[in-house]
Amino acid sequence: MELRFPEYDLGLLAPMLILVITGLVVLLADTFGRRRASGDRSFLAYLSLLGLLLTFYANSRLSGVVAAPFHGLLAIDAVAVFFNYVFLASSMLVVLMSISYGARHSMNVGEYYGLILFSTLGMMLMAAGGDLMTIFLGVEILSLNLYVLAGFLRGQARSNEAAMKYFLLGAFATGFLLYGISFLYGATGTTNLKAMGGFLKAAPAGNVSALLYVGMGLLIVGFGFKVTAVPFHMYTPDVYEGAPTSITAFLSAGPKAAGFAALVRVFSFALEGLHADWWGAFWLIAALTMTLGNILAIVQANIKRMLAYSSIAHAGYVLVALVASGGVGGAQRLGVSSVLFYTLAYTFFNLGAFAVVVAMGRGDRDQVGLADYAGLGYRRPWLALVMALFMVSLAGIPPTAGFVGKFVVFKSALNAGFVWLTIIAVLNSVVAVFYYLRVIVIMYMREPAAEMQAEAAGASFSGSLVIALILAVLGTLDLGLFPSRYLDLALRSVQALLG
Amino acid sequence: MMTDLLITIVKILVVFGVYLTMVAYLSLVERRVSAFIQDRRGPNRVGPFGLLQPLADGLKFMFKEDLIPHYVNRPVYLLAPLVALVPAFITMAVIPFGNTLPLFGRDIPLVIANVNIGFLYIFALTSMGVYGVVLAGWSSNSKYSLIGGLRASAQMISYELSLGLAAVGVLIVAGSLRLPDIVAAQSGLRWNFWMQPLGFIIFLIAVFAETNRLPFDLPEAEPELVGGYHTEYSSMKFAMFFMAEYANMLTASAVVVSLYLGGWQVPYLEQAGLPPLLLSLAQVLAFVLKVGVMLFFFVWVRWTLPRFRYDQLMRLGWKITLPLAILNIFYSGYLVVAKWV
């Protein structure tokens, strides 16, 4: 039998290849570097950073490309490239904040950085999935790495619990996803997203198989788990609390963006023809997600748990944009581009907040109680200042990226005619202001406990953490003050796909 | 149609008649050969040269009291011996014991079932064999049995990888999963035994481990575990485990012969100008002889080598045979690319 290998262009795969190679190099460098006596392994982190920067460069070379290599299994296009920027930004920030955190918890090992790099590959596959099979593989690569990363502190029961919960529920969600994919295949005869869209266009109106709806429902559950949408969010607080803080930061940014990337690919593009059938489900989920996330965030006394619920609420805002990404003319373009912009903006200020949480830790103890932040404004004024900035941005107050993100999301929702959903979202933003500002109030207006004051003297930053904080601040302010460039990029990315 | 069915039934009856007889006599062979190796006489009282000994053994097993301890998990306990025995039997169905037999104007293929996934069929069934041991170990509700079962499952999983990967080399060279094709590809002097000595050695080691034969018989190591997984079995049920061991050995020998020793092939015998019927029978005889040599090798090794320690066993499996088996795949690929085969 004559076998013909598919034609492919390595340039299209360059970002993914560089990531995998870097991951392998980091693993091997650790193995062979272990012979040296020195315990410091932060060079592994810098190696990973180098790889991520190279990937960033390779990704930037792909702007303007629209290609579907490997028989359409991959879709390398502007949306994928945009999401890749989001993933790379989040991975880089996480690696930067991991160096000092990893040193404190003896986590600076090759496996840690290798798994982060591999999970970044999984995210890229989800964003560049031209086929449900590729997306599924991406989800699996991402999830497996995250399960392990969540349990990386093997000596801590909380970390074990986080990994266990995440794994059990995640495996269950994967089952839903796979089941949904098989239903979609049965109903349309293909797993290729483009072919699926074509099939739906060709199908007589209102006469699609009921299996399609079952499949869509299962996919919503599967992806809903990934983006921590209510009611599939149950694991979030426990996992976010138990996982190492740097990994909690990672979980809240990149993988969520990847989940939205997959949702956009499947629902906003391939199943766009069925928008009338799926927006209802997302409407309800978005409203629930925002409301529950914000209300439960109010009562948290642990900053990691609070940020976990806050990340649920933010997932709700992105879902609002997703609801609006179809239906009336132009809505698809506006809705998807606001998903893109929001995930990018959220990556910066959310990771910034987590970087502050990392900076608060001392020794092998993380200070994660809200009370630990009392008087921070006097003990460590700079740290408190950036934390205040991130809180303002999370609350969506100008002139920060959070404000612009919310603004474009609400605008796209109004544009598509979802007035009530917009009202719910606005009300939620008002509720959210309360608990974000409370952190600022605690930092500046409450006296710290006596022993805290004594500790203040020994405060120190590691250089890499400072860089991470500066990058996050710059991102937050840049996207807040000069958003037009990024909004343009997002709009053009979607436009390139719609042709 | 009816004739084909009849031929198949006759083939099944003949093969399994011979097979079961060989299994029975293997126990005698083992005892005689071990006696020979240890400079003893071995059983020689029942019939001439002790040839009726297997019959006497069978009768003894049948008339022994069938004890079922009250603490066992009954359904699983009863199921386990069957599970141990059956896979070895039905694996024989896909093994070709000769080329074709010209008889009454027909060419009868000398294999019961020529299925196109024959090789995978063998592996699927081999992997079932472990269930008999594990279930026996668990259902007996005794610590010796349990440890035996645990050891067996760990050992068989570990060596199944080497077994499969070593055999991939054979598949690459033959380009087919059908056993008759694999045998046919070893015509002349191109036995895989010569072509892939590394693969052969790994396969052989893995086969010893899969059949739980010494030096890999830790699941039933009598100094530590009484009888291992079959400690709590008696009478016919014990006999079934006993038979399963020899049946596995016989099947494994047949597989090794088919994959590496040219199956029924005798180098250049086709060119000797024998009448077709005689040629065919000579080839069947060659197959049986080769299997016999393999069986003797099994017995010989058992009474020569000491038992492994458990960590040595695992280290050998994962750190030595597995990487070498992967290396062998590259080597086989090279054989094909360089057109040596």
């Binding site: 299994l73 590729t134 699996e140 690569i141 392990v148 049965g186 005869g189 198989s209 299996l211 | 699927a124």
Partner: protein, 183 residues
Amino acid sequence: MDLSFLFFYLFAAVAVGAALVVVLNRNILHCAMALVLMFFAIAALFLMLGAEFIAAVQVLVYAGAIMVLFLFVILLIQIDRVQMLRFAHRQSPLVVIIAVLLLAELLYMIIRGTLGIAPGGADAAAAGAASGSTEAFGALLYTTYLFPFEVASVLLLAAMIGAILLARLDKEEVGGVSRQDMS
């Protein structure tokens, strides 16, 4: 007369029955054995569809490897304690209500909607022509689906690293004293 549909229903019934035993039986080992039986029934269904390779791999991988590992773990842990384990029944009424609602919804859709299965695309046709033979399967895997095939290696590597990482003992822990104990 085509008897194949009879066999289909036979194997399908065995598969469903075994799956029910897996869910309902309280003895974890019986559940595992029922699952093995189910894998065989599914393999038989694959055989009837002409997909011999998938049938063999189904038995080889699921029944022959994964379930053996399951049994291995069952042997290692104390079975009596596992049998005692019960799920909290606090949520039962709610679960039942939701399940009934979902079932009703599903039935409604099945009755009202069309349950059409779309004909497969080009690759399905290609696979059908060769009727699931090993060769056709391999050819598809190395041409059309080369990319997922290669990417799966990253998945397996990551899984392997994760498993080793979580399960291995540190050098300090081998002696029975963990690093945490000492500090």
